[in-house]
């Protein structure tokens, strides 16, 4: 018994439980290090937040106005398309729209005639439905979509000709390099494994927005991921870990929007807040999931 006690004592005293530290593995093939993932709910100054997501102007408190130029190229499963989209809106932050104590957004100004290079951008009404008040006009937005013409060049010149004390403004948006995705492999969203894209664009960063299909009676595409990719050599292998974030079982198609973006701000006389100028070259690619390829 004495011996047994001694042995047990020694076991207790002698036993240690400090494990060796882990050995770190280096995966040189992993492009994850070049990727920053941001929530699309983030008030980032991107083409999406300018054109759709933040259409009420609720998310960005820094700018009262935004003018966006996008050169858009679409690769659909059976066809391709390209167009230019010009969009602008100027919010009156001093008159928030509230109903039953909730902030719905801001009204927008009519700034008169708005031009990009030689094109006049049509003015459209903004209406919202506020319960018993029905459709209510809360201002205007400017939108022009036109066919992209090969070889066309731009001066990126935005002009507000002025209206009722608003303007005038004559400024130039930043120029950008055209973004064109050259190839992608595999040609679908894999159930497991990575998806590689190669593009032609030398901007330091490339933005990728991944959108799912919209629900019925909603918008066509709902962005769910925003990736800022450091453009090392015109290619990225999206890790399976990123693609696994997509609801691949619920949706059959996903839109991959590659964007080369640049932005600048301009101040208009008489307004403290700034106007954001966005320029973007966009290549949209719609890919089926592997189960629906």
């Amino acid at each position: 018994m004495k011996i047994l006690s001694a042995v047990l004592g020694i076991v207790i005293v002698f036993t240690g439980c400090q494990h060796a530290g882990p050995i770190e593995l280096i995966n040189e093939q992993d492009d994850s290090q070049f990727i920053e993932i941001m929530s699309v709910g983030n008030p980032s100054d991107t083409v999406f937040s300018a054109s759709g997501v933040d259409s009420a102007g609720l998310l960005n408190p820094h700018y009262f106005g935004r003018m966006m130029f996008a050169d858009v190229y679409y690769s659909l499963p059976l066809r391709a398309d390209s167009f230019l989209q010009l969009e602008a809106m100027f919010l009156d932050k001093s008159k928030p729209i509230q109903y039953n104590g909730h902030l719905f957004g801001y009204p927008s100004y009519d700034v008169g005639t708005l031009m990009f290079d030689d094109d006049t951008i049509p003015r459209l009404q903004r209406r919202i439905r506020l319960g018993a008040l029905g459709d209510t006009l809360i201002g205007y937005r400017y939108l022009l979509r036109k066919q992209h013409q090969n070889g066309q060049t731009f001066r990126y010149n935005w002009r507000i000709l002025g209206n009722a004390g608003f303007g005038p403004l004559n400024t130039f948006a930043p120029t950008i390099q055209e973004m064109r995705v050259l190839e992608y492999n595999p040609p679908f969203v894999p159930a497991n494994g990575p998806l590689t894209f190669r593009w032609r664009c030398t901007n330091e960063y490339v933005h990728l927005y991944i959108s799912r299909e919209g629900e019925l009676f909603q918008r066509s595409w709902v962005p769910i991921l925003h990736l800022r990719i450091r453009n090392v050599n015109g290619t990225i292998e999206l890790p399976a870990k990123v693609l696994d974030m997509l609801p691949k079982k619920q949706y059959r198609h996903f839109l991959f929007t590659f964007s080369s973006e640049a932005q600048s701000v301009v101040t208009m006389q008489g307004y403290q807040e700034q106007i954001l100028l966005n320029t973007a070259s966009i290549h949209n690619i719609v890919l089926n999931t592997e189960l629906n390829k």
Binding site: L25, I26, S32, I35, L225, D244
Partner: protein, 670 residues
């Protein structure tokens, strides 16, 4: 050694050629480097499971280690051995510290809603660990042991998964995947002699896993591979041991153990590669000491190359790495090991020990019976206790004895040494030993309070062939077999065929005439033939002489004596070893005519042709000398020659008085 056992061992060696890795479960083992055959503790389950059975009844081994990349001591292994029979043992190992952990850092940058990076511990964490090990060994013979060990490993991979919730916020969760992997080792040890031992092991002879990881994690799975080890250990003395072994990983290991002071050991080991550009893979040093049932060891292994042992490693290199075990791999760092050992159970100090054994005599089957009364050898027994003991020495040769013999008890005072004689009772199998053979005899001593023998001593005992004779005339009578069927048939036939003649011969001359008839019959039947080796040390039994129709002087003398005795005529050997020429030694015969001396003239008037001897019934009678080598010339010539020799040598030469002639009455033995 049995050829079958040797074959079995060779088969195991061949299978081993595909063999071993090192283990951190013993400070002694790691500092000796080549420990597959020199392991002497419960870590044998890792080194060579065949060695499990060579340990004490119950033995426990606990090893802790501290490495260059750990924060403190870790319990590498706690193993135990239990003997379940004299020849079988089992072992169990609990290995909480046998673990390797790897991490893949998270490279993705996740920004929260405020644009700040979300911190993550890792992308993937891979853990390899051994949960348990079990071993079994069996001694196939006193030379060969085989054993097997079974291990279960665990492999966990924790994978960090990202997701987007309903509010478009990116979150993460850990997903843990686990599988179990098993492996089976075999090992063998072959004890050549007191100094040399050889053996081999096959690590991971068979292995498998319970299930698979998902495809994207499979590259990170613990992958085992088969390794074979062969080696030898040499222990020329109690205080020195050296061992060498090589494996199919192309590593050669050499180890030394030296005991400069009693119970204190110094050890060193070298791990080297056949074809590496670096001179060695690792160097180990160690020390240890024993106190009663406890032993403590310390060992340190140093790797000059630190490429993968504690730093970073490329994922592709990691994915292609296979393991023999988790202890010794490219990721093993410098280690300091501490081992405590103890043994429990029914271990006892012998009361008496055998210091030496002296086999006094070779064993001649013909005269083997005498060892029931005459000691076959002596054992020098020492009282190893502090008390007076009563000790008995036993002896056993399993092949030719039915049961062990046991001496009478001898009393020994503390520390007293005594030569104790021991006997042997052989069974009939000893008569079937045709030629000089060597048997293993077991000599053991039983002290008064011990249930089993306190010590044993293996010795070699010479057993002669059945026809071998030691040249001593006093033992020649063991070859005389008057009751043998062939002898009886022969003598009865001779007497029966001359029945009518014998009926006419007066009674006092009956013995003489019957002896003459037997001799003359032999004259017609036998031829004189020298021994196969021209030696008088080879004697045929009478049955063999009659069957082979011949023999030399010893054989014919023995045969004739057997025939005489089969019809009731007493006989005696006359063994002559001339003083001046021993090579002229020879044997002839006297037989008892039964005629009283006063009637000797019935036979002859010449008193030089006979001698007077006292018979069994204490009456003096006339004995006739017969030189059996005169077989071809008939009875009368054999008598004349025998009588002439006897007169010259015994009476004129005073050979009997001087002792160079011995007349030995033949006593019937069975």
């Amino acid at each position: 050694m049995d050829i079958q056992l040797l074959k079995l061992f060779l088969i195991m060696l061949i299978s081993s050629s595909i063999a071993a890795a090192q283990n951190l479960s013993s400070a002694r083992g790691i500092s000796l480097a080549a420990s597959s055959l020199s392991v002497n503790d419960a870590s044998a389950i890792d080194w060579n499971p065949a060695a499990i059975g060579s340990l004490h009844d119950i033995e426990i081994n606990i090893t802790n280690s501290i490495s260059s990349n750990s924060k403190g001591f870790s319990l590498i292994s706690m193993s135990g051995v239990k003997k379940i029979t004299d020849k079988q043992a089992i072992a169990l190992a609990f290995t909480p510290g046998r673990e390797l952990k790897f991490v893949l850092p998270a490279l993705l940058t996740i920004l929260d809603s405020a644009g700040n990076p979300v911190l993550t511990k890792y992308d993937r964490e891979i853990t390899y660990y051994q949960t348990i090990g079990a071993g079994y060994s069996i001694d196939i013979s006193k030379y060969l042991s085989i054993g097997t060990a079974f291990r279960i490993y665990g492999n966990d991979i924790t994978d960090l998964k990202y997701f987007i919730d309903s509010t478009n916020t990116i979150g993460s969760r850990e997903e843990k995947n686990s599988i179990s992997i098993w492996s089976l080792d075999i090992g063998s040890t072959l004890t050549i002699n007191d100094y040399w031992k050889v053996g081999g092991t096959v690590k991971n002879l068979a292995y498998g896993r319970t299930k698979n990881f998902p495809d994207d994690l499979d590259d990170l799975r613990l992958k085992l591979h088969r390794v074979g080890v062969v080696g030898a250990s040499f222990k020329p003395s109690e205080n020195f041991l050296t061992a060498i072994e090589g494996d199919t990983e192309q590593q050669i290991r050499i180890g030394l153990e030296w005991m400069p002071y009693e119970n204190f050991y110094l050890r060193s080991g070298l791990y080297t590669l056949y074809s590496a550009d670096k001179p060695f893979d690792a160097i180990a040093l160690g020390a240890g000491f024993n106190i009663n049932r406890f032993a403590a060891d310390i060992g340190y292994i140093w790797f000059p190359s630190k490429t993968n042992s504690g730093g970073n490693i490329n994922l592709s290199t990691f994915s292609s790495t296979t393991f023999t075990n988790l202890d010794y791999s490219r990721f093993t760092s410098d280690q300091l090991l501490l081992t405590l050992r103890t043994y429990l159970g029914s271990e006892f100090e012998p009361l008496a020990i055998i210091e030496d054994v002296d086999i006094k005599n070779e064993i001649y089957p013909a005269s083997s019976k005498i060892f029931a009364f005459t000691p076959v050898g002596t054992a020098r027994v020492k009282n190893n206790s502090g008390k007076r003991i009563s000790a008995k020495v036993g002896f056993f040769i399993s092949e030719v004895m039915n049961t062990p013999t046991e001496s009478i008890p001898y009393t020994l005072e503390p520390e007293e040494i005594l030569e104790i004689p021991f006997n042997a009772v052989f069974n009939n199998k000893i008569d079937s030993v045709k030629k000089l053979s060597i048997y293993d005899g077991l000599v053991f001593v039983k002290a008064k309070i011990a249930e089993e023998y306190d010590d044993r001593y293996q010795t070699r005992v010479l057993v002669r062939g059945r026809n071998d004779w030691n040249g001593d005339v006093y033992t020649l009578h063991y070859f005389v077999k008057p009751g043998d069927n062939k002898v009886l048939d022969f003598s009865r036939n001779v007497i029966h065929n001359q029945k009518n003649r014998f009926d006419t011969i007066p009674g006092p001359l009956q013995n003489f005439e019957k002896a003459r008839a037997l001799f003359d019959s032999l004259t017609h039947l036998l031829r004189y033939i020298n021994d196969p080796r021209l030696s008088r040390d080879y004697v045929q039994y009478p049955e063999e002489t009659l069957t082979l129709y011949g023999g030399d002087c010893d054989d014919i003398t023995v045969c004739y004596a057997s025939l005489l005795m089969s019809i009731g005529i007493s006989a005696a050997f006359v063994d002559v070893i001339p003083q001046d020429n021993a090579s002229e030694a020879h044997i002839y015969l006297l037989f008892d005519t039964g005629i009283p001396p006063q009637n000797a003239n019935y036979l002859t008037d010449n008193p030089k042709r006979y001698c007077i001897r006292r018979s069994d019934n204490n009456k003096e009678t006339v004995w006739i000398p017969i030189e059996t080598t005169m077989l071809k010339k008939g009875f009368m010539e054999a008598w004349n020659t025998g009588a002439e020799q006897y007169y010259k040598e015994a009476e004129i030469g005073l050979g009997i008085v001087k002792g160079w002639i011995k007349v030995v009455d033949i006593v019937e033995t069975q």
